[in-house]
């Protein structure tokens, strides 16, 4: 259920935060190929949260291993936000 537009935005954010040529970042790129470590991952998620007005729970961040995981995760959280039609994310639920 990924839209091309959403995927392109995620790829752009990853390239921007990692200061990489956008051509290098594809949906099939692994973090290893891109040289993304865990702190980079947290920084990218921060940028994605701002870009898409979502909140990503800590537990989900730990399981992200690839660009595709990020696109899938953002897609799901954006859909959740749209279907709840209300304030972003699930921070309160994640903290309880």
């Amino acid at each position: 259920m990924q839209s091309d537009e959403l995927t392109q935005r995620v790829l752009r954010i990853i390239a921007e935060t990692q200061r990489k040529d956008p051509a290098q970042v594809t949906i099939d790129s692994s973090f290893e190929e891109l040289g993304i470590d865990s702190m980079d991952g947290v920084n990218i998620v921060f940028a994605l949260e701002n870009e898409f007005d979502i909140n990503v729970p800590d537990e989900e961040v730990k399981s992200i291993r690839s660009v595709r995981d990020m696109v899938d995760g953002v897609t799901r959280l954006v859909q959740m936000r749209q279907s709840s039609g209300d304030a972003p994310g699930d921070t309160a639920a994640a903290a309880s």
Partner: protein, 402 residues
């Protein structure tokens, strides 16, 4: 070379408001972590912290004195007073002139700074309190201690994140060993509970929403704490000549830098600091019986630290008793090295090793003896206290029973 002993310890932290409460808490395996009460944290992903309970500055300072220093510096003075009382030191003018003060703090007077910034950014005020700068500076603790006792010798503060007070102890140890000072007051303090700094920790995604479970397979992060510990270090003959009873000897100190990553630890860097501490103390790995670990309870720290213990100790790693007391008093950042060195010294003196509480399940990648959940009696001659900071700056204090 001159030998350096510890003749006094003062502690104030989430596990106890003084040394006695702290030691009782360590032995009982009590958890000093609970819901953060001093600030509102409604929109944070975590609520847990190890606050110093029922701390009223007016119990320790005149109202005017309390107004002049931030909570973190108040902790410094309270801990220093307790350490000095235990040491039995009587201040002469010569001693005041030569005594050193070396403190550690990572974030200094954050709650004061936050209040000032909140006033201008959020409340639209046009001025902040004139004491904001002097209350925020990280050396305010060292300055307050010097004023408290009229000490006019060398005094300064070291800020190396979570290794700050371990580096401070190492520096004070060098100064006493070298003959620069006969006595040093050293340790660290921290009071990091303010909204801005908690939001910053939340952003790093390393804080547990529940409790800190170092080395346990189901660990899910660290828990922050506040407090201070101060030690009186003294040249051994100076202490014995005045009839003082040393609590332990500082046997050696080791430090290293990872040259690796701003947040990810390196097993080799940590192992090097351990080796340097052993070398400085002139002892073999097999002589160490207990390690008070850095043990933050994050996935990466605890596995990396375990690998470091294997690298530094070889076969002896399996025979070491290791615990992280952070599960009880939280991660007190710049005060951690001092509070944990105090815990290790008390353990050497009493023969009771503190446990790693909240330990549920062994992790194949953390395959050593972490003293799970219950304190243990042990006849230990040498112990280490390890601190491994963000930025890859490592400091290890080697301690000997006296």
């Amino acid at each position: 070379m001159r030998r350096v002993v510890v003749t006094g310890i003062g502690v104030v932290c989430g596990l106890g408001r003084n040394r006695e409460e702290f030691e009782a808490g360590l032995r009982a395996g009590r958890c000093g972590v609970g819901p953060i009460t001093n600030i509102e944290c409604l929109d944070l992903r975590f609520r847990s912290g190890a606050e110093v309970k029922c701390f009223d500055a007016n119990d320790h300072f005149s109202p005017k004195e309390a107004d002049m220093i931030d909570r973190f510096a108040q902790f410094s003075v309270v801990a220093a007073r307790e350490a000095v009382v235990q040491s039995g030191i009587e201040w002469t003018s010569d001693l005041r002139e030569s005594t050193a003060i070396v403190t550690g703090s990572c974030v200094g007077g954050q709650s004061t700074e936050n209040q000032g910034f909140w006033d201008v950014y959020k409340m639209g005020k046009t001025r902040v309190h004139p004491m904001t700068i002097p209350k925020t500076m990280a050396n305010a603790g060292a300055s307050a201690i010097s004023q408290e006792f009229g000490i006019t010798g060398p005094a300064f503060t070291i800020s190396t994140a979570c290794s700050s007070s371990a580096h401070a102890i190492g520096q004070a140890f060098s100064m006493v060993r070298s003959g620069m000072s006969d006595v040093a007051l050293t340790g660290g303090s921290e009071a990091p509970f303010s909204y801005g700094i908690l939001k910053a920790w939340e952003a790093m995604r390393v804080i547990s929403p529940t409790v800190c479970r170092p080395f346990s397979k189901d660990r899910n992060g660290m828990v922050l704490g506040e407090g201070a510990a101060m030690l009186v270090l003294e040249e051994m003959d100076h202490a014995l000549a005045r009839g003082a009873k040393p609590l332990a000897e500082i046997a050696g100190f080791g430090m290293s830098s990872d040259a690796h990553h701003i947040t990810q630890p390196s097993a080799e860097g940590a192992a090097k600091a351990v080796r340097m501490a052993l070398k400085d103390a002139g002892i073999a790995p097999e002589q160490i019986g207990y390690v008070n670990a850095h043990g933050t309870g994050t996935t990466v720290n605890d596995t990396t630290e375990t690998r470091a213990m294997h690298l530094a100790f070889g076969d002896h790693a399996k025979r070491l008793a290791i615990s992280s007391t952070k599960a009880m008093h939280g991660h007190t950042l710049g005060a951690a090295g001092a509070i944990e060195s105090a815990a290790a010294i008390l353990s050497l003196a009493s023969g009771i090793l503190p446990p790693t509480i909240h330990f549920n399940e062994p992790d194949p990648e953390c395959d050593l003896d972490y003293i799970p959940n219950c304190a243990r009696r042990a006849d230990i001659e040498y112990a280490l206290s390890s601190s491994f900071a963000f930025g890859g700056l490592n400091a290890v204090v080697a301690l000997r029973r006296f």
